[in-house]
């Protein structure tokens, strides 16, 4: 394992990494709302936001001011403590999950930079050797946000939203686990670093060997992040706003920061596990490759949102349990047979 001598991981490096992840992901999560509107607008032959700043770029700041200054309302009969804690659960679990995800390659800060020069920054803030399970488990725990929010607000639409959260969780969780199991069998490790280095050994992205698992993982990932074909929790046309019906201001905003952070986490997992991670590609450096891959996965989510109508809860359960789960099991069995023979 320790063939190449890596520089020692110091506390300073880990802190820099954590700050880097927080800063970059929060910024992208804010900027993501703008990109989402603009991309959806172009796909639907509209213009999207364009009045605030050039091309509507300052719309994010306008939205931010609106969110921060909005009155924070807690309904009279709501369970106030749980109502207040729920948005924090969504945002916090989303960022805890990011602690075990590799975003950029290892690098050492150049010596000529004052104070921080020479510090080695690892690719993951915390390289637990079961990283992939940790991230999936933490993201699953994030669903307590919508669940508690819906139950605490004493609102029928909220209860419907949290009931849908529960069935959505019970549907996709099996598919996520089984779809990621086949790549885990091929790599023989649960660490993201091993997934990334596995590419170096055989030179082909895992998607070439595991196209079925890739598609299954994406579908389950969209269900996990409540993206549009599966946005049952808050579907406006049916249940007003579901679990966020009674929320306003920054509490509402925290749900969405969490949701965008989760979208990016799914994008990172898909890039590292299936698309070759942060390895250099031809002359393109690794950090640029991983940004490109994550951006593409993000764009794909918007593309899917623009293309597909949303499904009913019973259709989601039918899809997950009667179609995706058998396909995933067959995929795992075939992978096992091919590996053994």
């Amino acid at each position: 394992m320790e063939a190449t001598m890596l520089p020692e991981v110091t506390a300073g490096g880990v802190i820099i990494k954590a700050v880097l992840i927080l800063a970059v992901i929060s910024a992208i999560a804010g900027f993501g709302t703008y990109i989402e509107r603009k991309v959806l607008a172009f796909m639907q032959r509209r213009l999207g936001p364009q009045h605030v700043g050039p091309y509507g770029l300052l719309q994010i700041i306008a939205d931010g001011i609106k969110l921060f200054t909005k009155e924070d309302i807690i309904p009279q009969h709501a369970n106030k403590l749980v109502f207040a804690v729920a948005p924090a659960i969504t945002a916090a679990t989303a960022f805890i999950a990011l602690a075990a995800v590799p975003v950029f390659p290892d690098f050492t800060i150049p010596e000529w930079i004052p104070v921080l020069g020479g510090i080695f920054v690892p690719s993951i803030a915390s390289d637990v050797n079961v990283g992939i399970l940790f991230v999936l488990g933490m993201m699953a725990a994030g669903l307590y946000g919508p669940l508690l929010a819906g139950m605490a607000q004493a609102n029928k639409w909220g209860i419907l939203g949290s009931a849908r959260t529960a069935i959505q969780f019970l549907s996709y969780e099996v598919v996520t686990g089984l779809s990621i199991l086949a790549p885990i069998m091929m790599v023989g490790s649960l660490s993201f670093v091993d997934f990334n280095d596995g590419y170096n050994d055989n030179g082909l992205w895992l998607i070439v060997y595991q196209p079925v698992a890739f598609v299954l993982f994406l579908i389950a990932g969209y269900a996990e992040t409540n993206r549009t074909p599966f946005d049952l929790l808050e579907h406006e046309a049916e249940i007003i706003s579901g679990y966020v019906t009674e929320y306003s201001g920054m509490r509402w905003g925290m749900f969405f920061i969490g949701e965008y952070a989760n979208m990016i986490t799914i994008g990172v997992i898909a890039s590292v596990v299936f698309l070759g991670g942060y390895n250099d590609f031809w002359i393109i450096p690794g950090w640029l490759m991983i940004i490109g891959k994550i951006a593409f996965m993000f764009f794909l989510m918007l593309w899917v949102r623009a293309s597909w109508p949303h499904v009913r809860p019973d259709q989601l359960m039918w899809l997950c349990w009667k179609v995706l789960m058998p396909v995933a099991v067959i995929n795992v069995v075939i992978t096992g047979i091919v590996m053994m023979v």
Partner: protein, 189 residues
């Protein structure tokens, strides 16, 4: 040093959270603190270097509590306190206290006797998941298989109990919604 601080933080918060679970009259508080306590217990596994078990604790127990939530949502009004029935508080107190005492004695006896040693200590260079798999598929293979069969039996029983009208979707039935309404009304009368 950091481990000590982390251990005491985790220990205190676990105790408080599970106390809330047992004492609270509000379903929402009880279930929330149960879930939070389960998450924090996984912290102990991480402290001991058992990453795999910690993550399994996270996934399995947090997911299981989620299923409990789903049931609680159907049966209770989550915003109201429930009335508890205390038939014989003295007996409950006595039995509960005795059980707690027995557990404490059972688990602390080997520690006092300094007789605790790991059967399968963590080996450098071998991952947690590999070590667990190795033990599970050699020494504990029979219990493992028996557990699998038990789960299968439970699953089949569940499907048989729930599956009588499974082919008929309530959401999409345009033809005979009246029949179901009548059945419900009859049962209520």
């Amino acid at each position: 040093m950091y481990e000590m601080i982390a251990f005491y933080v985790f220990a205190v918060s676990t105790t408080i959270l599970f106390a809330i679970t047992a004492m609270s009259k509000n379903v929402l508080y009880a279930m929330t603190s149960l879930a939070a306590g389960m998450v924090i217990i996984s912290g102990f596994f991480f402290l001991l270097g058992a990453d795999f078990l910690g993550v399994v604790q996270l996934i399995v127990y947090v997911g299981a509590v989620m299923a409990l939530y789903a049931f609680a949502m159907m049966f209770f009004d989550a915003t109201r306190d429930i009335k508890e029935k205390h038939g014989n508080p003295a007996l409950v107190f006595l039995l509960g206290g005795l059980m707690a005492l027995i557990f404490v004695v059972i688990f602390s006896a080997p520690i006092i006797g300094e007789n605790v040693k790991a059967n399968y200590p963590i080996v450098e260079g071998i991952g947690n998941a590999q070590a667990v798999g190795m033990v599970l598929f050699t020494k504990y293979l029979v219990p493992f298989e028996v557990a699998a069969v038990m789960l299968l039996v439970a699953m089949i029983a569940g499907i048989i109990l729930a599956g009588k009208k499974m082919d008929h979707s309530l959401t999409t039935s345009d033809d005979e919604p009246v029949e179901y309404e009548d059945e419900l009304l009859k049962e209520n009368k």
